[in-house]
Amino acid sequence: MNLCRLKNLKGISTVLAVGILWLLAGDAFGAETASATGVTGGYGPAPDLKPSDYPQVAGVNSRVTIWIVAQLHLWFAAFVLAVPIFVFIIEAIGMRTRDKRYDDMAYEFIKVSITAYSLTAIMGGLLLFCLVLFYPDLFRYMSVIFKDSMFYYALLFFAESAVLYIYYYGWHWLQGGFRKWVHLTLGLLLNAVGTTLMLLANAWLTFMMSPAGVDPAGVFSGDAWAAIHNFLWNPINIHRFIANIAYGGSIVGAYAAFKFLTASGAQEKAHYDWMGYNANFIAICALLPLPFAGYYLAAEIYAYSQQMGITLMGGLFAWLFIIQAVLIGTLFLSANYYLWCGMGRSDGAKRYYKYIKYIAIVLIGAFLVWFTPHTLVLTNEELKALGGPYHKYLGPLGIMPAKNTAVNLMILFTALSFMFYRRANKVATVGWVKAGNAIQVALFTTGILNIFFLGVYHGYFTNTVYKVAASIPQVLTTLIVIVASVVIDSFMYRRSQEAGPLHWGRVPPRSQYALFLLAVSFTWLMGLMGYIRSGIRQHWHILDIMRDNSPDAFTPTLGYAANVVSLATILFMAMVIFVFWLSQVSGSKTLPDGYWKE
């Protein structure tokens, strides 16, 4: 416990330092800019920088340093914002069901996030130092425009810390009756503060992509809300909010897998198996709508700037998008494999084994379409054989209508895997089982046909605006089929009998590696997509407003970028394993014989 307190004090002091520095920086730089431009009470244009305006530290590559630090900060921030969301949900479930296992699990989750919280603050402080050190003029310009939100951001950090510590340390104190409600309310408050922090930080980064509240020369109008509420703010907010939940679920899933694999007793294994299942369930629930949120964000980027849109998916970064597609597919495959392996916990699951191969065929088939590149890598012989770089049959699979159709199918069949998993240990007793199953089959069949129709007809035979718009009814079809089927299932299995006792812990170790794969794929994916989102500005600090004239103002090669992201991923995973290990250490006690005076 002492170790934990020490870490927390360190976290608080770092946050304090960050906050104070931020306040000072905002004021000082604001005053400096106003005086430098000679505008009293007004704002100057964005500075036109020279390479010599960027301080260099011998032997340090400033861009790679800030790239890695920002990425590490974001990963930890995503984790510590996500965990309280589902800790709140799980605590509420525990209160409703009065099943203490949920309360214990929620407490264990928040315990893991406490160490991660300190690391988030440390990385945030480091990021700020790097910004001030390596990109002082950019930071100065941004802090003039966002001085208010930066000030409140620092204050909110204090609020976040205070609420988190009361929530964590008061867990066992605030138990039962009204006290438990107070505790749950604190959880809600913690989430509200955390989400507000994320929204503010999102405003700064989206301003760099789609600046608002400034004129073409970068002169700020003084309307801070316009700068915050820029074109890409809400698309990023939605995408990040959902992605954080999925990410948090995957990291806690990896924690449970770590504990499962190192557990010695059957009871401990059963507990962590159950925890891993719940974490994976949350991750999958958030993963299902994530491709739609991502598509919405990409469509909005394209709508804002054709240049950024094409750079993103058709141009320079097209091949990184293929890697992204592969990683997203890997997430779906890992999540499905974990569910299939988990069916071994039930003796009644064998009834459904025969369907797994068909689900796998659809998943893999859709996955192949999902990552088929638009820009093919062809050898000269293939180029000659095809008569050009265009492939008559693979080419149409390289554009979005095919991808949207594929990902909807992947989502539908992942939901089907989940339904089989839920049914595995149950035997329905209602008289309308056959009719219920028939309705579900009809729902899936109609849904799949509709998804195909929308994808093929609107995707290839109508105006682009309908092609983009067709993704919405596709998503709605998928959601309707899933929700309706789950509702039918819940009525059909309401008074069901158990096929046998559920054996928590009876899963093969490889299922736990699927949980690890989920967490690593998520992390790598976020790093890669974060780089792409930031990189599509290319030689601009702030798109079309403030040019990046630093010596590093070039777009790195794909291989170089992938290596930096991979290095950052390894660093983050090493730190996460350290966090897991700490949680293990904090629970162990050594009794040193003869050391202390009796």
Binding site: A303, Q307, G387, G388
Partner: protein, 256 residues
């Protein structure tokens, strides 16, 4: 006779591989690129692994022959053979992958370079984000005039563009075979149907030399058409490209 699981898995993989070759190379007469096939097969193998190992009995059956090969003393001879043959095959595979060849290296070339925000054409600066085809409005307002403009564009196309891009706009003009990269196929759903008209204006007006430095080399032999055609002619030819192919330019507005 029941086929052992390991053999089943291998047969599935071989079957899928041959299936891809049969469908693309033989039936469709459109060779499947080796890079795509390699990616496809990797994830097909992952899928096969998932299906064969998600339950314990199946996994045990799958790995039993491998386990027996490694552990059973009676299989010593075959084990030694396998332990020699597998690394040799892996080494040979690596060697043939890495050995330098006389072929030109494979180029990773983006189909759509990203346009700049603004360009300088016909002696003026044009903002590509806001640029629109001045004749597109006649499609609804004055269909007769629109028809004339499209016909004008067709004339420009036949006189200037079809030599490379082909009289069917499929990128197979008489000169196409001599060019690498080959001229764009406008019939392909992945080309002009994905783009705004301002993008086409940029590509036609500034040609190969106007391509951005990013993701170079583009090595495009497209002429700088602003030196040969008027601004009006370029907009007309753009109308023709969409009209002939039946595609619609990318836009954010719904048709009426």
């Amino acid at each position: 006779m029941k086929i052992p699981k390991l053999l089943q898995a291998v047969l599935v993989l071989i079957g899928v591989y041959l299936g891809f070759i049969l469908v693309f190379d033989v039936l469709l007469d459109a060779v499947i690129p080796s890079s795509v096939l390699a990616m496809y097969m990797f994830f097909v193998a992952a899928g096969v692994f998932m299906v064969f190992t998600f339950e314990e009995d199946g996994t045990r059956e799958l790995v039993a022959p491998i386990k027996a090969l490694v552990e059973e003393p009676s299989r010593r001879l075959i084990r030694n053979i396998v332990f020699v043959v597998v690394p040799v095959l892996a080494g040979a595979g690596t060697y043939f992958q890495m050995v330098p060849s006389l072929d030109a290296p494979v180029e990773l070339r983006s189909i759509h370079p990203a346009p700049p925000t603004a360009i300088k054409v016909y002696g003026k600066r044009v903002n590509l984000l806001k640029l629109e085809n001045p004749y597109r409005k006649f499609e609804k307002e004055d269909p007769e005039k629109f028809k004339e403009l499209v016909a004008g564009g067709a004339k420009v196309y036949i006189q200037n563009c079809q030599y490379c891009h082909g009289d069917k706009l499929d990128g197979k003009g008489p000169y196409a075979a001599g060019l690498n990269p080959t001229p764009l196929n406008f019939q392909d759903v992945g080309t002009i149907a994905q783009l705004q008209e301002s993008y086409l204006f940029w590509r036609i007006a500034t040609g190969g030399p106007g391509l951005p430095k990013e993701a170079a080399p583009w090595i495009s032999s497209m002429p700088v058409w602003q030196n040969f055609l008027s601004e009006e002619e370029i907009w007309q030819v753009i109308l023709f490209l969409y009209d002939y192919t039946g595609r619609r330019p990318r836009s954010w507005e719904h048709d009426g």
